[in-house]
């Protein structure tokens, strides 16, 4: 206790000094998005629902073998979500479009972590176990994690999953953007590499945005004029192109501003250099000093005058 008390005072006095020298008002919130971020465009008009990306993801991330083979396309009959054993899943949607032979045209949607530009999960994480890397990946460092699962609460896409059945060392599980492969081995993300139709295009995010806009411009009839992830939640590294309105394909409608902005603004404007606690502390000391000794006469102050 002695130690924590001393620490406490140390922090207070350091912070006090800091406040005294630099009483700057909290600066406006700024995005921390890296400028050289990589990303992927998932072109839903190309995806054929073969589940090869799921298979490659499973292999490169050394995930446990699936319950049903990756070649079993009946898995698509049910909507799935990424979970602690699967970083990416493909779902099938029928949006009502039919072809010349009156067959419903399916649209397949691959889901994984969006690797947000200003990720809510990383802002929320109590220990900073999740962090946005220079190359765009939102990386998870299990050695810091305490398992509070605030990242899961924060993620607007409901992506991170948890190894709930591990009693002692559970991990948060989500797509890694194949961080090791991309950053250290110079390879492509497993899913982007294997996709037979290049439904997943890997590249620099700014280049991808140009590519995506060109695709929409050249085939206006093929795409809805919306790049999902360009602005959603302040922008994401993974983005989508589609022939159908995204709401019909299970995509959440999100505000354009980054999720962490409000909370971080409040946090920083109240607690930068701990100014507000220090001011409060000073005020309360003042009050305490002012009322010192006055209380003795309060004895009968409430007695009968109710």
């Amino acid at each position: 206790m002695g130690i924590s008390r001393r620490n406490f005072f140390k922090i207070l006095s350091v912070a006090g000094a800091a406040t005294a020298t630099a009483r700057t008002p909290a600066r406006a919130w700024e995005s921390q998005a890296p400028s050289e971020a990589y990303g992927c465009i998932v072109d839903l008009t190309r995806c054929i629902g073969c589940r090869k990306c799921e298979q490659a993801c499973n292999e490169v991330n050394k995930l446990p073998p699936p319950d049903r083979s990756f070649e079993d396309l009946t898995v698509l009959d049910r909507k799935r979500r990424p979970d602690e054993k699967t970083f990416t899943v493909v779902n099938r949607y029928y949006s009502g479009r039919i072809d010349e032979r009156d067959q419903l045209i399916p649209t397949f949607v691959k889901l994984q972590c969006m690797h947000c530009q200003d990720p809510a999960c990383a802002s929320a994480c109590i220990v900073g176990a999740l962090s946005k890397q220079e190359n765009g990946a939102v990386n998870y460092d299990v050695s810091k994690c305490i398992g509070c699962r605030y990242c899961m609460v924060a993620c607007p896409f409901e992506i991170p999953a948890y190894e709930y059945h591990d009693p002692i060392t559970p991990r948060v599980m989500k797509c890694t953007f194949c961080y090791e492969r991309v950053a250290n081995e110079g390879k492509l993300p497993g899913c982007a590499e294997i996709c037979p139709v290049e439904a997943i295009t890997f590249g620099r995010r700014d280049t991808l945005l140009k590519v995506a806009r060109d695709r929409i411009k050249e085939n206006p009839g093929r795409y809805v004029d919306h790049i999902y992830g360009e602005h959603e939640a302040g922008g994401t590294s993974w983005m989508y192109l589609s022939a159908q309105p995204f709401e019909k394909l299970g995509f959440v409608t999100l505000p354009d501003h980054p999720m962490p902005r409000l909370a971080e603004t409040i946090q920083h404007s109240l607690y930068s250099y701990l100014w507000s606690p220090i001011v409060l502390f000073g005020m309360l000391s003042g009050i305490m000093w002012a009322f010192r000794g006055k209380g003795e006469r309060q004895e009968d102050h409430e007695g009968g005058n109710l």
């Binding site: 929320a124 002692i168 409000l262 607690y271 309360l284 209380g295």
Partner: protein, 402 residues
């Protein structure tokens, strides 16, 4: 601080009620053991979409809110110097101390890597609201223990008689206690103020936790002023919680009902609860969320119950001096306030939390309920044990303890 007459109650410990509590605590313990063998998934209904459930909503959020009696009474009695209220400070402090201890125990069960709970001390993320909450709770818990020390010292000072220990040792401990007593009474003001500051910080930040998930929290609760609402409601629930707990304790331990203190105490509540009510209603009007009120979903119904039964009705009741003077009605009104704030925390963290993508429903499992109930029962047991043996509660005026 030394002129009121708190004393150990020395009443019988094992009453039927206590046995029942012990049983609930034991069941909770079994569930906790199961959690550490099979994992969180084995005892709970938590999932990817619903990572936080009963444990965070009740054990942590409500626990923190209901421990607000500690800093609100300390503010009144020690900072504003209204020593008249001194008798309720100690029990409130004890509740706060135990409450926070159990918040931490609840957290230990809830976080996946309990053994890693110290990591936020070295890995800092200043962007994280949870980081701030954790730091405040950690410091505040220490402050609470320090504030509680005088009661231990008072009990044993000059009376240290360790069985079988040589006289010299007993005397050494004794003088140590005397020294601590002297030092503590000199610097206690720092801790009292620090306690209030830390409380204000994390009570409000607990509300800020949900600000990062605007799409998940029902608009009836999601508002940028959520931290302010959490702070005002915590302050408002402080005195009702004292009343609630004092009434229970004095009834069960057959002590004096302390109405002389409780009645005036709740006059402040009328004012504080009024502020909270005004903020809540004002926020609803400004953000035009009243359109949801009659949706009839479980969320909106929970909101209506929270507001009407938990805030509005007890506020109206407390307005009347008659209610404030009647022991029973005061208890009822205060229980409603306590329930209202508890429901508010549960609503924000559990009921109002609707992940839009997976839209999974969540209902706590038997294991989760058992652990939460077990922790609360354990808390009550320790409370009872401590007031039996330490000078916490006010000495009954009618009887004289030998």
């Amino acid at each position: 601080m030394s002129h009121h007459h708190a004393a150990p109650t020395h009443s019988k410990f094992w009453t039927p009620g206590v046995v029942a509590l012990a049983f609930v605590a034991a069941v909770g313990l079994v569930a906790i053991i199961a959690r550490y063998i099979g994992g969180i998934g084995y005892v709970s209904n938590l999932s990817t979409a619903r990572p936080w459930g009963l444990w965070i909503g009740v054990d942590v959020a409500s626990g923190v809110a209901l421990a607000a009696g500690g800093f609100t009474t300390a503010f009144l009695a020690h900072i504003l110097g209204k020593h008249y209220y001194e008798p309720v400070v100690r029990p409130a402090l004890l509740t706060a101390m135990l409450g926070y201890t159990f918040v931490v125990l609840g957290l230990l069960v809830d976080i996946g890597r309990s053994w890693a709970i110290w990591k936020p001390m070295i890995y800092w993320n200043f962007n994280s609201v949870l980081f701030e909450v954790a730091m405040c709770v950690m410091f505040y818990l220490n402050v609470l223990y320090i504030e509680f020390l005088p009661m231990v010292i008072e009990r044993f000072k000059g009376r240290v008689r360790l069985p079988g220990a040589p006289d010299a040792l007993n005397r050494a401990i004794d003088s140590l206690l005397a020294l601590a007593d002297k030092v503590l009474s000199k610097i206690m003001w720092v801790f009292i103020i620090a306690g209030v500051v830390l409380s204000c910080m994390h009570q409000s930040s607990l509300g800020a936790l949900m600000l990062i998930a605007p799409t998940k929290l029902h608009p009836l609760w999601y508002t940028p002023i959520l931290p302010l609402l959490f702070l005002t409601s915590a302050i408002a629930v402080g005195y009702p919680m004292v009343v609630f707990e004092a009434t229970l304790a004095t009834t069960s331990l057959k002590l004096d009902s302390e109405m002389k203190i409780l009645t005036p105490l709740t006059r402040f509540t009328v004012f504080l609860l009024g502020i909270y009510l005004a903020l809540k209603v004002g926020d609803m009007v400004i953000r035009k969320t009243y359109v949801y009120l009659l949706d009839g979903t479980s969320q909106t119904n929970a909101f209506l119950i929270e507001m009407v039964i938990g805030v509005l009705a007890p506020w109206l009741m407390l307005l009347s001096p008659k209610v404030r003077q009647s022991r029973r009605w005061l208890f009822i009104a205060c229980t409603m306030v306590v329930g209202g704030v508890l429901l508010n925390r549960v609503n924000v963290f559990v009921v109002g939390y609707r992940p839009p993508v997976s839209e999974t429903n969540y209902f706590p499992s038997i294991g989760e309920v058992a652990i939460t109930a077990g922790l609360i029962a354990g808390l009550m047991l320790i409370y009872r044990f401590l007031v039996t043996h330490l000078p916490v509660l006010n000495k009954p005026e009618k009887e004289v303890i030998a």
